[in-house]
Symmetry: D2
Subunit: 325 residues, 4 copies
């Protein structure tokens, strides 16, 4: 199976969803109350994956909305500098803001985020602002689950998926569940289910698949049996330090262990994972190898201070895999 073909279209991947600002504690290993200085990075799962896959050599575009202010311009410039096409990054005209994430790093295992997500520009992308012609030109469309949390971003994503299906563009669904933007858990389950049924590849943690199913302690086999009734061909379910699993529609399944690393903070692991996993699939690696790329990439990012800025190179990933195999 060759699910994702590199170079067959103008873009390998177009990501849709939020791009925001992380404000990472400069002084860490302490409560945020005692952190007096913060360093600015681009953040947001689909922006991180756009940067991560572009870093690794894929041709990447981004669809999103940012304000015409200092933070919005910084994000657009940063994406552009990282090689991501920003022609479809829409300027908000209503005075909305970029979302912010102040990160608190008390210890490697105690990290938390103070979010500013009220009235953020990214959730106001409208269906009219999504260009069917742009989506037609990509091999794959990467959907971030958070973009489904509110209208009109929700409908912008649903429209993007319809365009993708009409033009045989593969849909990759990164569940990316963040509790703070959703009204109810029922809504999460309803829209995650709708979109997962239409996606070709679904990637998430076990907890995120539980949100999709609207229940607790779900079982991987039940999950994939249900989703394989619909469009999905490949499903990746991540179990943290226990490793990650890939399920293919033909019945095969694979597992990768997590790599040992010196953890500084846990943020950014999922985005680094998705970036490297997708890079590997696009470059003809088999699913089992792609899982290793994902795990290694995640291990590298959690040892560093930022997410977007720390997205690893192919060499770094392959070196870690070699070291620990």
């Amino acid at each position: 199976m060759k699910l994702l073909k590199k170079g067959s279209k103008k873009f390998d991947i177009i990501a849709i969803g939020r791009a925001c600002i992380d404000l990472n504690a400069v002084e860490y290993n302490r409560p945020m109350e005692e952190t007096m200085t913060f360093k600015k990075y681009v953040g947001g799962s689909p922006a991180n994956i756009a940067i991560g896959t572009s870093n690794l050599g894929l041709i990447v575009g981004f669809i999103g909305k940012v304000p015409d202010d200092q933070h919005g311009r910084y994000i657009t410039d940063y994406l552009h500098d990282k090689g991501v096409d920003t022609t479809q990054v829409v300027k908000d005209k209503e005075g909305r803001k970029v979302g912010l994430a102040f990160t608190e790093i008390k210890s490697p295992s105690e990290c938390s985020i103070l979010m500013y997500r009220d009235n953020v520009a990214d959730l106001y992308l409208t269906p009219e602002e999504v260009d069917e012609a742009y989506i037609r030109e990509t091999e794959a469309l990467l959907i971030s689950g958070t973009a489904l949390a509110q209208s009109p971003s929700r409908e912008a994503v649903l429209a993007a998926i319809e365009y993708a299906k009409a033009h045989h563009v593969k849909v990759i669904f990164e569940l990316d569940y963040r509790p703070y933007t959703w009204a109810t858990q029922e809504e999460v389950s309803i829209y995650y289910t709708l979109v997962a049924q239409k996606a070709n590849v679904v990637i998430g943690t076990r907890d995120e698949f539980d949100m999709l199913e609207g229940k607790e302690n779900g079982d991987n086999q039940t999950t994939v049996n249900e989703l394989f009734k619909y469009e999905p061909d490949l499903i990746v379910i991540k179990h943290g330090v226990e490793g990650s699993y890939a399920y293919v529609k033909d019945g095969k399944q694979y597992k990768a262990n997590s790599y040992k690393t010196k953890v500084l903070k846990t943020f950014g692991a999922g985005d680094a994972y998705a970036s490297a996993f997708l890079y590997a699939l696009f470059n003809g690696k088999d699913v089992e190898t792609a899982l290793k790329y994902g795990s290694a990439s995640a291990a590298i990012v959690v040892s560093k201070h930022s997410s977007s800025e720390a997205m690893p190179t192919v060499q770094e990933i392959e070196q870690l895999i070699a070291e620990q195999s």
Copy 2:
């Protein structure tokens, strides 16, 4: 093809969506400014279809939300008196109101409606208030398009559809497009498309299918070709006085002319049509005959003062068909 089987489950049809109050001009053939008295009727497309099909002998239930006030109690009592099961009519606890429709009948061809639809109870039905066990007990679930216009009613309907699909309950989608509750036309197209792809039967006017497709002057054949790629087996497209068309997935198509009648007002025609068309299908009539039942039923209702109260009997319908064949 036997699409809908009468008596196979506890209910033949469960309708989900709004039930409201029509305030019909007692003095008519004049502008509403000169109408001083209004008569109260139950209204709302899915409520009318529930009443209409119950009148014709089907076993019918209703899922909706009304306030615990005088109008809400009137609606629930009226549905109950008409034989509709109201155990799933939820009481709103937030001070919302029943929607109102003041009808203005200037002349048989000049009718308009003054709607009160701000903060109406029906649009606040939540997914949690939809009971999977109830839906499992019906042969068919009737979706009214207006219930998709706003959250959380939108998600309640999407949840109801997932339950229906899980239990092999047929989904009938009456497009029932009303402009006043939708935020944008793009949203109409997005959600109508999502739901139509999952429905077994889709019924609407040509204009409503244009809203679904997000374009003007659509062509029936293009419409049905696209929808037949998905779940639909039967699609009815109504062209007003020119008659109505039915398209079956196997390629057959049928037409019924409209019946001559003395028009008092145009309201209620679609609900009367759907009621009789579904009645006929449930009773083993072929699609062509079912179209005639629909047309005849519509012709009867437009000659009378109300919608719900004027839903015809089988005898009245069959008599009109006989008279004009």
Copy 3:
């Protein structure tokens, strides 16, 4: 003391606030669930007082906002027909509606109202829509307390009061407290206090003065002592069937008993009271006589089916006073 001078300006009174539609039960002495027909009347306290005082011969204007729909046009036309100047009745352009009051008359002592007050045009009158030049031309400005319930109507009224004070226009504050539009009781107390301190005449029920003071079972003497520290010269406190009291800043106080009548419903009594009381003051009656006019007018309206349409004539009022004195 001659508080209010008739004919000294272009207008005797300009009222500001809501005009809406009453839908009165045609079949009464029953719960509304059993009322099938409703008769349409103009309603809303300041509209009723405008109509009531115009009926009695004062020169009256009205500042308010109604939609450009059938109900809005009916209201404007009706006010105009009753002799009220409607040049400052603004048309709402945002799709808002006229407020509705369905009246339920179970028995003379059991009346209730089912209100439709969500997103009503009257509460969206803006300060920019209040014309200083118009207010300058009146002897008195009548404020309805309900117009203070929400922004921007609240600020429109506060602006109108500033204009009135700048041009030595008397401010009459009819407390007109309706619970359904206020966010909290604290807000009622805050804005009622602010406005009462600036008003020359304050009229309300004992319960309404309790709302102003933010406490229960208030005492008239305490109430008037506090308010007489500020602008008020005359305060009327109504105690229902026990009668009504007037307090003058110079220390005098008066009482009028209520008149015997055959009560049909209780709606409209306060508006009829204020209309006749103000008429009497404008026509040089002393305060004690004015109280009698108010009481008699209220007694007449509660014996009739409507409020606005039933506003009595001078002759009717004086006849009742004569009969029961």
Copy 4:
């Protein structure tokens, strides 16, 4: 005249309004897009004045609302450490956030602020959360104009003023106009006028008094003539580098020039001014001397990186006055 008496009550000043976080550019003299690091300070005009006056030796309390998150706790702790009583700093329970101000310092004359003010906790202080007994214990209540921008904070302030008036507490109104929180300019004028009429001391820039009056290029003499009809005894109007003017109800007026300083940024000048001006009045200085204290304090703060942290000592202020007199 001894307007403000130090030590006569438990508190000299209680300030009411916002406390937020300033994120000041660590790398400055450049656009914010190129600033990568931000330093955290407590900000917000009334919080700064509370800190500033406490620094100078007054006994100060603060009434406000902050979330129970890392930023909220930092603010409360910082105020407490600076000697400000925080027993009336209410914890928000609704997930609202602290307001943020990212400062951009392109050059000493080109400073701007990127504000995060959507759904901020400070604007959700309610009237019920303002304690009459607390306000009774202060000599003066300092109102920040921004706290009037939205409900329910607006009503909380109006309630606080009523409590102050009832207990003969002096009301000081710092106009503190910030455009981003107000719905319309008419609202600014309406509420600034209402509050200024009830205040004993009013302090603002000429531009802020223009907002109060709802006009442009107002004239100081007209402004003070109008306000002296009401409660105010002392009005300070600041004209930037041209200096500042004080007007006393008895007709006297005073001017202070601005002090020469090396400007780093313009933020915080007004809060430093008010702090030192009030300190001087409380300590028995005459109005002319108090103006000098205000000007000198402002000159010191604009030469430093922060606002709250840079609030000067009495010694620094008096030294600058001595140097430049």
